[in-house]
């Protein structure tokens, strides 16, 4: 890609443009200059990489039309520098790259003057902080709607509901198979809600022994049972003011279902062994990988609790039913593992992508994530290829590869096949004679024979006959 550093505006002076260009293109940080009209006069290679915009396309445009930054309107750093002459250092900002993805940056600015001291414009250097932000997200689990990856119809429905779901305080039920991303969606619902500054507490209902469930969820009072030496707050108390996420809610024991119903209906509960009624101020988001309606029909889940939980129902289908999301998920995970592992893998090869598009993904999105992680371990190239992916996945795809379906033969097809067989019979399997009699080329005859499953050796006459 040609750098646009040579594409200087008239105001930028450099003693040796080639020399300056080489230096600036070797820097890992983005560097660009603007003139007094805010038009970009130079744009180094790192700036191209971070923004995704080639220098020739950026040079000459207003910087706000290239960076689409959050500070363009409310506190442009370059404007401040040009107006005051003061350098700004390490200013945090967010820009949009050319794919509409938000990129966190840290920027510094300085004025540019000619030897006589007249203002020419300004220079900005900026550092891509995506990796740092990604790692921070991994640690703090601060996922937002930006982290929900999906363009399928199912996700269009979720995106349509999300603004309302986030704003409301209603209970949300997330339905979907294991590994489909229910917890990420639950975190996004919390992080988008007015409760975002308050605690988010996860309770995995399937991982708690039934006899401990009540004490874990509601807490206990000193003396409630033999080992209850002191009061212990439950998860609902810990989530006060925030959100409690009940994963695998179908595993809730029946007695606890009744108590949870009271929390949802009356916002009240008592700790185990306690006599005082406690007011609960929590939003409940629940998830299940089973059809709760079926469990209700079987009498294993209370119908009144189901209706309380399913005020808003969001369904995530299995990955095999939304294959159009796979390329976007692959891109997302590649970006994420690049940040986590400090690698620079660009993506996956077409062959690897085809494998993903044909694989059944019984483990859903989590399995795709694991496959990409596996690829990151083995791949030392720029793209993850088939050889970097597990053999069992490849053989699973081979076994399920669809065999070409034989179309039922039409009368015309049958007539054509009979004609070819008859001619080949008469010609004794000699292709040249058969072609002459049928007035078709050898290629055409071969193609038709293959289509009808006709084999030449069946018509060869023994030389002695």
């Amino acid at each position: 890609m040609k750098s646009g550093w040579g594409c200087k505006g008239p105001d930028v002076e450099a003693h040796d443009p080639q020399f300056v260009e080489t230096i600036l293109n070797s820097i890992a940080d983005g560097v660009f200059t603007v003139n007094r009209e805010w038009r970009i006069t130079s744009f180094n290679r790192a700036a191209e990489r971070i923004t995704g915009i080639p220098a020739p396309d950026a040079v000459g445009r207003r910087c706000s039309d290239v960076f689409h930054a959050d500070i363009c309107e409310r506190g442009c750093a370059l404007r401040q520098t040009m107006e005051s002459g003061a350098e700004l250092v390490d200013v945090p900002a967010r820009i949009l790259n050319n794919r509409g993805q938000s990129v966190p940056i840290s920027l510094s600015t300085a004025v540019l003057r000619n030897p006589e001291g007249a203002l020419l414009g300004a220079v900005e250097t900026f550092r891509d902080l995506s990796t740092v932000e990604q790692l921070r997200k991994e640690i703090g689990l601060q996922y937002t709607f930006e982290d929900i990856v999906g363009r399928s119809r199912a996700f269009q429905k979720i995106f349509a509901l999300l603004p309302d779901v986030a704003e409301s305080d209603s209970t949300v039920l997330l339905e979907g198979p294991s590994g489909s991303g229910k917890e990420l969606l639950a975190r996004a619902v919390h992080n988008l809600s007015p409760r975002r500054e308050q605690p988010y507490v996860v309770v995995n209902c399937g991982a708690l022994p039934p006899n401990l469930f009540e004490s874990e969820l509601f807490g206990y009072t000193q003396g409630a049972f033999t080992d209850a030496k002191r009061d212990k707050p439950g998860r609902i108390a810990l989530a006060e003011g925030g959100t409690v996420f009940l994963d695998e809610v179908s595993e809730l024991p029946q007695p606890t279902q009744v108590k949870l119903l009271r929390v949802l209906q009356e916002r009240q509960y008592e700790t185990l062994g306690g006599v005082k009624t406690i007011q609960a101020n929590v939003r409940v988001v629940a998830a299940t990988n089973q059809k709760l309606v079926d469990l209700v029909a079987q009498g294993r889940f209370r119908d009144d609790l189901y209706f309380r939980l399913a005020v808003v129902r969001l369904s995530i289908p299995p990955l095999r039913e939304r294959r159009e999301d796979i390329p976007f998920l692959v891109e997302h995970f590649v970006r994420r593992f690049n940040a986590k592992r400090g690698k620079s893998i660009l993506g996956v090869t077409p062959a690897a992508m085809e494998l993903f598009m044909r694989y059944g993904f019984p483990g859903n999105v989590r399995e795709l994530e694991n496959l990409i992680e596996y690829g990151f371990v083995l791949c030392h190239d720029r793209f993850i290829d088939l050889r970097h992916l597990p053999e069992d996945v490849q053989s699973a795809v081979r076994q399920t590869a669809p065999t070409p379906e034989r179309q039922p033969e039409s009368r015309l097809d049958r007539a054509e096949a009979d004609a070819i067989r008859g001619v080949l019979e008469r010609a004794g399997g000699r292709l040249k004679d058969a072609c002459r009699e049928l007035a078709v080329s050898r290629t055409t005859l071969w193609r038709k024979m293959r289509r009808h499953g006709i084999f030449l050796q069946d018509f060869h006459k023994p030389y002695h006959s």
Partner: protein, 118 residues
């Protein structure tokens, strides 16, 4: 029909999510019959989606736009003409004449390469 344009002075705002003002134009027979400025304090993208939806906006004309917000708007039935640049009046004029193409203000992309749709 209602058309929304986030603005920065007389220009379309560089980024929908960060714009401080959104002007909503009511249009009848290709003429602007009413316009209203909404000053936005919140920087929550979802607040902007809700505003456009609550105001029954049909089309959003904007500069930069986060891909997820664009998905959310489209999922809400709002037509999005994104990644355009220029003056608000000129963009609106081109839109009313059916000459506005998404992506025209997106560097590194051919005009029309921006997303447009519901």
């Amino acid at each position: 029909m209602k058309v929304a344009i986030p603005r920065f002075a007389e220009q379309v705002a560089p980024c929908f999510e960060y714009s401080a003002t959104i002007t909503i134009f009511a249009i009848r027979r290709r003429e602007v019959v009413e316009q209203q400025d909404f000053r936005l304090q919140s920087r929550d993208a979802l607040d902007r989606v809700r505003l456009l939806r609550d105001q029954r906006v049909d089309t959003l004309i904007c500069g930069g736009l986060h891909e997820r917000v664009e998905q959310m708007l489209c999922a809400s039935g709002i037509r999005v003409i994104s990644w355009v640049a220029g003056g608000v009046d000129e963009l609106l004029h081109r839109y009313l004449e059916g000459r506005l193409t998404a992506g025209g203000g997106r560097p590194g992309q051919a005009p029309g390469a921006g997303r447009e749709g519901v």
